[in-house]
């Protein structure tokens, strides 16, 4: 069974997914960051594939992408680093990346490689649902990869239902009208959106992302969903870290407690 499915079978609340950019802060940090995330008690690891033009990301993740590329990160390099990681990491691992680098690698070759190294799912923010259904769904399924779609406060109910029909992992709820890392705190307006979607009775679990940074925002988001995704705040934690393992675990403790 896909690790994402097993996770949500066993755990329906306070699921914590952590995003980091591969190749940041140092090229070879990938594995040690993954191990620290696992040791710190998170439930899903989301590895960002850096891209030169990340249009859905705010300054923190943009900078991490740029530095990762300057460090020499690429999909090829990342797959080399991920060779054999399953001997150490049990958590579900999801790759998040913009479409262009993946298309250049070749979608089928990419999916095949993902399966080989032990990736469970994909989040491709600029792959629209229709394009996914027309071109890529069968390839994803062939290689056992769960595809995750995003929804935002602007997404219509009709489209949320379509998205729910066309995925079987989890739905990534963007918490507000925003790019990543843009806001702090959770407003009444956001909570009414969380509730509205909660009441739709979707078949897929929902994780809330964008603007989640600490214990308070994580707990609030978790009240109205199955859990949350932290990206920018985690990137800030690793950015200036002198001791990745220690700082990551301390940060995750602070969020989870």
């Amino acid at each position: 069974m896909n690790r994402i499915h097993s996770l949500f079978k066993n755990k329906q609340e306070r699921v914590l997914s952590i995003y980091f950019t591969a190749g940041f802060p140092k090229l070879e940090d990938t594995l040690s960051i993954m191990e620290a995330i696992q040791a710190g008690g998170a439930d899903i690891i989301e590895i960002g594939v850096p891209y030169s033009d990340p249009i859905a990301d705010g300054p923190t993740i943009q900078d991490s992408n740029q530095i990762a590329l300057e460090n020499g990160m690429s999909l090829k390099k990342l797959f080399q680093q991920l060779e054999g990681f399953r001997s150490k990491i049990e958590l579900p691992v999801v790759l998040m990346g913009y479409l262009n680098p993946i298309i250049q690698y070749g979608m089928e070759a990419f999916c095949k490689k993902c399966q080989e190294v032990g990736i469970d799912g994909l989040i491709l923010p600029d792959l629209p649902m229709q394009q996914y259904l027309d071109e890529f769904k069968s390839v994803f399924e062939q290689y056992g990869l769960v595809n995750t779609f995003l929804i935002s406060p602007q997404t219509s109910e009709k489209r949320i239902l379509e998205i729910d029909q066309n995925t079987d992992g989890f739905i990534y709820m963007v918490s507000s009208h925003s790019i990543t890392g843009a806001k702090s705190g959770i407003s009444e307006e956001q909570i009414s959106y969380f509730k509205r979607v909660q009441e739709m009775g979707l078949k897929n679990p929902r994780l809330i992302g964008f603007g989640i940074s600490d214990a308070e925002t994580f707990s609030t988001a978790s009240k109205y969903s199955h859990g949350a995704i932290i990206g920018s705040a985690f990137i800030k934690t690793v950015k200036d870290s002198k001791n990745l393992n220690q700082d990551i675990q301390a940060y995750l403790q602070s969020v989870l407690n």
Binding site: S52, D53, I55, Y98, I103, P128, Q154, R159, I179
Partner: protein, 392 residues
Amino acid sequence: MIRVDEKGFYGKFGGAYIPEMLHPNIEELRDNYEAIVASEDFQKEFQMLLKDFVGRPTPLYFGSRLSEKYGAKIYLKREDLCHTGAHKVNNTIGQIILAKKLGKKRIIAETGAGQHGVATATVCALMGMDCTVYMGELDIQRQRPNVERMKILGAKVVPATSGSKTLKDATNEAMRQWINNPVDTHYIIGSVVGPHPYPEMVARFQSVISEEIKWQLKEKEGRENPDAVIACVGGGSNAAGAFYHYYNTPEVRLIAAEAAGLGVSSGKSAATTALGTPGILHGSKTLLMQTEDGQVVEPHSISAGLDYPGIGPVHAHLFDIGRGEFVAVEDEDAMKAGIELSRLEGIIPAIETAHALHALNMIEFRKDDVIVINLSGRGDKDLDTYIKWGNY
């Protein structure tokens, strides 16, 4: 038949590869723009503003001394005489009326050289709309007069500080701000790039150029169709406008001049069809200058308006099926062509436009062929670059 299909593709290129957060905006535009643009109301206002505010129709001018030099009948389509100094305003007029009809209150735009930014700031002033223009930090330094023009017109100019700090990054920033302000804001894209329906919509607003060429040429030459139309291509909005009504008239050659920068193989170039491969940038599949790993390469051109690593999907398609002839013009040759036009015809062209003029040296034509060059913009904004180059 060259036309956009239902899903927004021209052959292999186009589409709408956008984050879900932009889906409602794009859907709203896609579902409404054709009906709005076709409405009598819209057309009345659009035509009135093109005539009385922009100054259309722009002349189709027979350049006798240029013709004599090259041994062809060369006509210049004088988009440089549009209000604000370039063709860009044709599109911003169309989009601002559309935005108003969609009930939008705020406008955002990206700009490279500042021409599209000025054209956007101008129509926002005209309509009393709030206007923010994103511009690469480097371009803000290179194009100071246009930055000040935008400010005088009441727009806010926000520097894009990521990546190469030029047009590509300004476009990224505008898209991010649209994600952040999806409800009351319309994004006026300045070229035939971006997710569907932008490329086709912008081309349609610019198609007034070839519509006029047809009847003007009929008056002057007794024929609607020239032997060739030449235009410069960055993203490709002026070329799309000049080619539009000739796409499906194969006897008219469509010649596109890209910026070769310091030379196509110099590593300092913006010649997208020569160097690009299929990829996805700013929401559409197109030809793109990129590394083997799919990272977008920083382009170079002496003209900020051509300094873009991609090309509109319709042009990628024209290239792909061989309908368009693409030439790559180096910085130095473009500058010389700009001086040549100044001396022969008394017109100082924008440096973007000068690339199209140099194409006359790169293509074969028969004596007495009728050639139309789209003179997309005037050179006032480029005086600094001409002065620095100094070779006149």
